[in-house]
Symmetry: C2
Subunit: 505 residues, 2 copies
């Protein structure tokens, strides 16, 4: 079941078989992760449970706590532990990963880190209000502050070609804007051509009345069967869905329910569960704390988008689940057959909102954002000009003009939290997912049959073997090379999209 | 509207009118409280949201975080700030409160503090499982560990008469077992006499089907009207209801729903809202961080039990709310009149479960626990003998034998979290509430009329003036003296119980 002999090699050894230096470093990182769990809980709670008047206090708490974590993550004690591992195993993944994190953290003064957390906390609140009121002006000073801090991040971190690379590298090690730009360019024409081919959209079934309690029940059932462990996780409601790895055996999905738009929670929950299954694998497989994480966000998105789209919108998948959907929603599914349902959940069209977009046009949404945030970070665009630039970018990639800032520049949470350089990782995730799926379908030839019977264990086993068990021992690009034997390549994604969207009548 | 001239005196001054030393201390305590909010969130989340497999990791997180807080709470920096305030205002409340907290914390080695948190976390999990399985043996080693740590607490803290006093003083400053014992003794005969007078219990209406969604809606409506601010708080479900002051403007109630026992959530929610209204008052009234807390748990219970029982089970209160209850629950209230409903929610009888007990027999439940925990802490009772001692104590105070440990020694959460010395504060709360109510009804003669119209502002204003605005500037006993002009006295509670339960036919 392995694709290359190299993929079978262990990327780490258990505690009993490593040096005392490794054990000491693992123990320190493990303790640090336990402490950092409090920070991640504060963030999860802020977005799901915190009462409105509690926001300013929460921002102070998170700022103060981030300072404490930063102090520890840059402590001489940690550096000594890393150096000891470097002495015995300089080329091992544990030395590489911890050294990179230590060096990155050490470049930021603690006041800067604290300021960033506080600005992100305040920015999130301001963004929520601005989005509700469709009023960019109230968000503008927050985004200016966040951009200023991000540009200082880039200066602290250093870069070769452009400031944007410093930030993007935080999310996807070794990836550069100069690689991303042609990737989007090579998607532009084929995707627009496929979009032009699509029939008149009909999503009437998905807009029927789907009672929220049923959506929640069905969503939980699906993702539990796919492999998300609810004894080590949760599902809650929020405005902007996310998955939070809070602590050991504690991974939390969030979703959003819309009674008259089934895909919102259905595919949103599966998407976050893809992240969650990945995140839960590190505890489940007993990875050392030093490696117990994904190598980057692109790899994380390969799982979420893989579960959501490659698997979750495929016909074989719905051959299993559609009868159960009809049981939970007898009224909403009345008179609908499997083919019609699968066609509707694969409806593709140009639209304004990224999080509701189909998987075909989705990449164009990211292209718009990549160009804008690259320009912002590199100093080629001012925040005050952003709404106009957004609309111009949208015209360029979609040929459409957003009707409002709420359906334009204000729709996404990311920048409000100071996350610039993040967006291209979604498309990298699509690229990785398509590359992995080509190999996995060769290794697991009964793939479609498994989906038809609702059995995901052999598929998960493939990901355990080739992806999950390595944690962050390899970068995303290295994992792609190990698995496919070649570099990051947009070809499989184009073939996959062509296969799914090119056959429409 | 003030009962004594002294009560009108300010117990603290705003930032602009105090010394620089005061301002510096306030700022430090404020920062510390922001950080401690993370710890309180970890606790709230553990009891309401944490997935089961996440418990061990959470215990490690809380242990690590408690160490950090402890280190700060005992830092030389803090001591210098306190000493500076003592120099300019040695008899002021801010010096007294912060010095007491500093001295107490400084008596504990940090490893002890961490061990206590970890034992409490593990103890809570073990207790939940033991209670479900009705199996004291699996909880016993945890309780032995927690008792051992508590007895060491007492040694670290020091005491005059007996070890129990050291622990009880943590919850109620200046209160001693030697005062508590006669308090319970003087309640024993009158309460048992009143219980003997009660008619055959009839709670058939309360056991009808009360849909949970309606219970939640009605409960939220009631406590919001009573003064709980949902923009600065929440209400969630849990196994053992509590109120958590998480952070600034963030106070969280929890409750439990039982479709066939309305009082469980109804009075449970009002009870926790009593705590919550008190807790929210400190932010609302802008108290300095040094004083922004209740002086002890007895005072806190005076509010929760006052709102739940003195107000929430009174006839005038239900003259306002019963029609609304009938709207929300037309089926469950069919054929029921106000008198019957008020009679049923004031049903008193001997029973096994404290949290479901009526306010009359409630004090006997505490008497049982007080005697047992006093014996445990003073070394007169071993944990292995506790179930038998529980049953003997129950025989002594109630003349009944619990049918199982689940309905006996395993029913309460407190000891599982290492809280010994806590239980008598519930009865102190009843005593304080009755004393305050006698004065407040004189000061606010339209009391019943206000309840009949669902207007609680003048009552809250009385508590603002006499209790809330002082924070912890005075101890519970000092507040009682300021408000009533006399000492803690069981007389008003006996008169109140006699009035409410002595008139039954």
């Amino acid at each position: 079941m392995t694709s290359t002999p190299a993929a079978a090699a262990a990327s780490w050894l258990p505690d009993e078989e490593v040096s005392g230096a490794h054990r000491a470093l693992r123990e320190w990182v493990s303790g640090h992760r336990d402490l950092a769990a409090a920070m991640r809980l504060l963030g999860w709670d802020q977005q799901t449970k915190l009462p409105p008047k509690g926001q300013p206090g929460r921002a102070r708490t998170m700022g103060a706590f981030r300072s404490i974590l930063h102090e520890r993550a840059t402590s001489p004690e940690l550096e000594r532990l890393i150096a000891a591992v470097e002495d015995v195993d300089p080329d091992g993944p544990e030395a590489r990963v911890t050294r990179r994190a230590f060096d990155q953290a050490s470049k930021f003064p603690v006041e800067h880190v604290r300021a960033r957390v506080e600005a992100a906390s305040a920015g999130y609140v301001a963004w929520e209000q601005a989005r509700t009121a469709d009023d960019f002006a109230t968000f503008q000073p927050h985004l200016e502050r966040l951009l200023d801090l991000s540009r200082r991040d880039a200066d602290y971190l250093g870069y070769e070609a452009e400031p944007y690379d410093a930030l993007h590298d935080l999310y996807e090690e070794g990836s550069r804007a100069a690689d991303i730009e042609p990737m989007f360019e090579s998607l532009r024409e084929p995707i627009n051509r496929l979009l032009d081919l699509q029939p008149e959209p009909d999503t009437a079934v998905l807009e029927r009345s789907w009672h929220v309690a049923g959506q929640e029940r069905f969503g939980r059932e699906v993702v539990a069967r796919m492999g998300f462990d609810f004894a080590a996780g949760r599902l809650d409601e929020t405005v902007h869905p996310f998955c939070a790895g809070v602590g050991a055996f504690d991974t939390r999905l969030t979703t959003r329910y819309d009674e008259h738009w089934l895909p919102c929670s259905l595919f949103g929950t599966i998407h976050e569960a893809g992240h969650g299954i990945y995140d839960q694998s590190f505890d489940r497989l007993g990875l050392p704390a030093t490696l117990a994480d994904a190598p980057g966000l692109g790899m994380h998105e390969s799982q979420s988008r893989g579960f959501e789209n490659v698997i979750g919108r495929s016909r074989p998948f719905w051959e299993h689940w559609f009868p159960r959907l009809c049981e939970v929603f007898p009224d909403a599914t009345a008179g609908v057959d499997l083919d019609a349902f699968v066609r509707q959940v694969n409806t593709a069209r140009r639209s304004f909102i990224r999080v509701e977009a189909d998987e075909l046009s989705y990449n164009l949404h990211l292209a718009v954002r990549f160009e804008l945030e690259r320009a912002l970070v590199n100093g080629d665009l001012a925040v005050r000009d952003l709404p106009e630039a957004w609309n111009a970018g949208f015209e360029k990639w979609f040929g459409m003009h957003p009707p409002s800032d709420r359906e334009g520049v204000l729709q996404d949470v990311h920048w409000s939290g100071g996350s610039l350089g993040y967006f291209p990782t979604y498309t990298l995730g699509n690229v990785y997912a398509a590359q992995f799926t080509e190999v996995a379908r060769r290794d697991v030839p009964q793939w479609d049959e498994l989906l038809r019977s609702g059995s995901y264990e052999p598929i998960l086993a493939w990901f355990d073997e080739h992806v999950y068990r390595h944690g962050q021992a390899f970068t995303g690009r290295q994992l792609v090379e190990r698995i496919t034997g070649g570099p990051v390549d947009v070809g499989p994604l184009l073939r996959y999209l062509d296969d799914r969207f090119g056959r429409q009548p």
